[in-house]
Symmetry: C2
Subunit: 334 residues, 2 copies
């Protein structure tokens, strides 16, 4: 008997990508149940050659499902989680609602997949920039434990969902046609600009988005003492996030061994030749699952640090693909 | 008697801005002589209500001038420098040709203006990202000497001159109209992308552009032991560069004293309210001389470090305005 999967938030950018990824991965699916808010009731989404109708989610929507992939905000995730768990399905949630809950595993399958097997009905999918950064440095962490991370991000508008994609598209058209910018999702125009503020301010001067690198990084990498300083910046790019990262390890790691460890880590590639360049850009990496790393070099400030650049598709590995990979990992190891 | 100024490379993006800045600053100019390559011979550029004709530069072009502002590449700067010096003019050069020459002052007037007074006929204008970063941290450096800098840049296309501006403009139009991208100045499409490579590769894995932060920073800030790790990234922004910076000082500097020192530093403002935001973006700061700083916060990795964000117009303070300010400083202090 195949798997019965629900997608909660099926009509958003991440929800739609989850459906694509399920199809691409060739999972043995018996039922795909698409759920969203009442205003999306009746929307049809293609899956394996036919259309599936989206239904409005309700507390009784989850009966008979094995897994529910969550692609909704944290408020809705909190609202529906009890019903999902009660129905017996495993909730793989892309929101931040449960990520720091000690009873909820926070999982990037290639790094800490086995954590997912100890779930109590909920597994959290990490923050997008954190997934991509952790994937990029996980190989180094196996050579010597990472002590600190300094990261500056170049985050695509897809991180703000379909509305973010629409806003950049509107503004780029408005730029060319001399029309007004519609500014709704972002605090300032994003076309021809970068915005050094994502999320909401916390008490220490960092945004909640920036604190995820340290908080979620500790849980994913099993590094409870990890310290991370992060600056999150929105850039006018559609889908792929990039991060400039400096990592300090317990012992000095050399560039050659770091590159070998990164490149042999599953789901990660060191970019040796990408369209004639030895570094990745967002455009190269959009629509792909892998995380790409380049510019690995000795840090000039600290003898035990390395500096590198990484890119990964925010909607794929940063959200939808990672969630489906968690599902696959749990299913294959149950 | 007023000043006689030559502009070498008068038709490029920086050269044209120098002419604008000279006009705006109300310098007492007796003669403005505009020089460029032979293909620009006869071009007319407005200055104080009339047009000045551009002439092809030759070894004898500099006779009778007090200052020559250089807005050409390093090869041409090296070619013309001996003729300029021989003519008795002071050459204020925006290229990288002489920046690391121990006989040539490398000057940001607010930081080390007096160095300019010890010139032997040539004064170098620093790299654009380095000027903006040094301005942002100079106030902190007065509180306690800076030991290290970790910087990731978000550099505007104007850094590649008029050709860079034209390339982004062509590509943004091509994006909207579904046409082909012209890729000449940058190694990959820059619209809807970011490119983590500026300049040319050096032997240590860093580009020459990235090494300028350490090499030029040491000279400008009078910090011969400064260590700086820099990642230079091109972003689809027209004019203003942004830099995410972490600085480590000899003693711990607190956020409040750092903000006060930055804000009281001439030519630098801490952004307390810019269109309702307490951080600057490139769009806010384009066309302005000041460097703007925001997001000053305690670093989470190191107790003696601060992390901050800064923006400054690459063509203004990053190039043209700084060069004219050097001229003004030398003129007023001669």
């Amino acid at each position: 008997m195949g798997i019965r999967i629900g997608v909660l938030g099926a009509t958003g950018a991440v929800g739609r990508e989850m459906i694509k990824v399920i199809e691409e991965y060739g999972l043995d699916v018996d039922e795909l149940r698409l759920l969203a808010s009442p205003r999306s009731e009746g929307t049809k989404i293609p899956f394996r050659g036919s259309d599936i109708t989206v239904h409005a989610a309700s507390p009784s929507s989850f009966e008979g499902l094995d897994y529910v992939l969550g692609a909704v905000g944290k408020t809705q995730a909190r609202e529906y989680a009890p019903y999902i768990v009660e129905s017996g399905a495993v909730f793989i949630d892309n929101s931040s609602a449960f990520r720091m809950d000690p009873d909820v595993p926070l999982v990037v399958p290639e790094i800490n997949g086995s954590d997912a097997l100890n779930n109590k009905g909920i597994i959290s999918n990490p923050n997008c920039s954190t997934i991509i950064t952790c994937m990029a440095v996980a190989g180094i962490n196996r050579l010597s434990p990472i002590e600190t991370i300094v990261a500056s991000t170049y985050q695509a508008v897809s991180g703000a969902g379909q509305g973010g994609l629409d806003e950049l598209e509107q503004q780029v058209n408005a730029y060319v046609n001399g029309e007004e910018y519609e500014i709704k999702k972002f605090p300032e125009q994003i076309v021809m600009n970068v915005i050094p503020f994502i999320g909401s301010m916390t008490g220490n001067g960092y945004t909640d988005e920036e604190m995820k690198m340290q908080n979620e990084g500790r849980k994913i990498l099993h590094l409870p003492e990890l310290r991370a300083t992060c600056t999150c910046v929105r850039v006018p790019v559609m889908r792929s996030h990039s991060i400039s990262v400096t990592v300090k390890t317990k012992r000095k790691v050399f560039v050659a061994e770091a590159e070998a460890a990164i490149d042999s880590f599953p789901g990660v590639s060191v970019t040796f030749d990408m369209n004639g360049r030895d570094y990745p850009t967002p455009i190269d990496t959009s629509g792909r699952d892998d995380v790409y790393v380049g510019r690995v070099r000795e840090d000039l400030v600290d003898d035990r640090s390395l500096t590198l650049w990484c890119c990964g598709d925010q909607i794929r590995k940063g959200a939808a693909s990672n969630a489906v990979q968690i599902l696959k990992f749990v299913e294959e190891n149950k």
